[in-house]
């Protein structure tokens, strides 16, 4: 609860699973501080987070395994605090401090 930069960034947990973690340094859980506002001064939403992850976090260059047409590719579920993002406004959901955003690739093995 210290001050300083706390107005400009929010701390969130971002998780990757179902194989997506391989695109993010093989690390499933990332504690990130992301800007409160996006490029145009709007409150940061999930669409912005996806851009931010591609540009500032992802080391792997196989970007097409994560995004397609400016959003997460088909076959990835986005979970906002353990709920399908379709329940929360999809990529327009405005991120709150402490949120857990989980990107999950569906599995097909059996």
């Amino acid at each position: 609860m210290s001050q300083g930069k706390s107005k400009d960034v929010i701390s969130i947990t971002v998780e990757f699973s179902g194989g997506l973690e391989m695109l993010f340094s093989n690390q499933r859980k990332h504690i990130l501080s992301i800007p409160t506002k996006d490029e145009s001064g709007e409150a940061s939403n999930v669409a912005f987070l996806v851009r931010y992850l591609c540009e500032d976090v992802m080391q792997d260059n196989r970007r097409e395994l994560f995004v397609l047409d400016d959003t997460v590719r088909p076959g990835i579920l986005v979970l906002i605090n353990d709920a399908d993002w379709q329940l929360e406004g999809e990529d327009k959901y405005e991120i709150q401090g402490g949120d857990n955003i989980h990107f999950l690739s569906t599995l097909h093995g059996g």
């Binding site: 579920l77 399908d84 097909h108 093995g109």
Partner: protein, 318 residues
Amino acid sequence: RYAKAWPLEKHEYKRYGRQLIMPEVGLQGQLRLKTSSVLVVGVGGLGCPAAAYLAGAGVGKIGLVDGDTVEESNLHRQILHSTGRVGMTKVESATVSLTQLNPTGEYLAYSSRLTPDTAIEIFQSYDLILDCTDNPASRYLISDTCVLLGKPLVSASALRTEGQLMVLNSPPRPPGDILGGPCYRCIFPKPPPAESVVSCGDGGILGPVVGVMGVLQALEAIKIITRGIQHPDLICHIDIDKPRFQTNNEMPPNPPEPPSLLLFSAYSNPPFRSIRLRSRKSKCASCSAQAIVTREALTSGSLDYVQFCGIVSPVEAL
């Protein structure tokens, strides 16, 4: 025979005694299991344990669909098969094991891969479907067929150290009825790019990981059957108004659960997580009032699932 005082045979009371005495099953639940039929599509790492526990619980008729034969590399996880049956069709091998475990059940083997041509005809004679397959094309075909025929679907998948499980189209209402459970297309409207799909053959799989998911599929199926499946055309529903419990341990009936996705990750802490899912999607191509996946479209072959999923190499295994 109809006037029999005891609705189960004497040996059935013995065999199923440990689950019969539970209020969640009871005599009514056991009779529902006995008169029920479950189709297991895919007799691999998920289908083997799922079928074993369904047969054990006394499901009257179990159908098995798979076009593959048993290979040595299957045996670390596909526990219904055996080393001596390598080369036999998986459905035949599974039938041998299931009959040994519980000879009172009826086991039907469909030894070819599920296709749009055959899906409706096969699914028609079952009450509930288990998706134990390993590729997106099959998953869409199975879900579409379940919606068209009004069958609840228990879908699971596993890869490497992770597993996922969903109960879909439950309750199984007609397309357009928002009270029905979501279908696979509600959750995944578009298939994943083919190059992102990894099979157990390529990615690897830990046996107990897929095993846990398969056993949980059997559990969900047993929960749905003992609770009483509400058929979509209201005329032929199965005694949903009758009291469910016959024992002294009276309990309120267990209502169907809200749509959810169970995630398992063997090396994570906590290993299991439950995710809330959406209800039916108002524009779903399969289960909405605007559905384009019709029976005609499916049987005429105008829905090319393999094409739709852009499979890179031909789908080998179901």
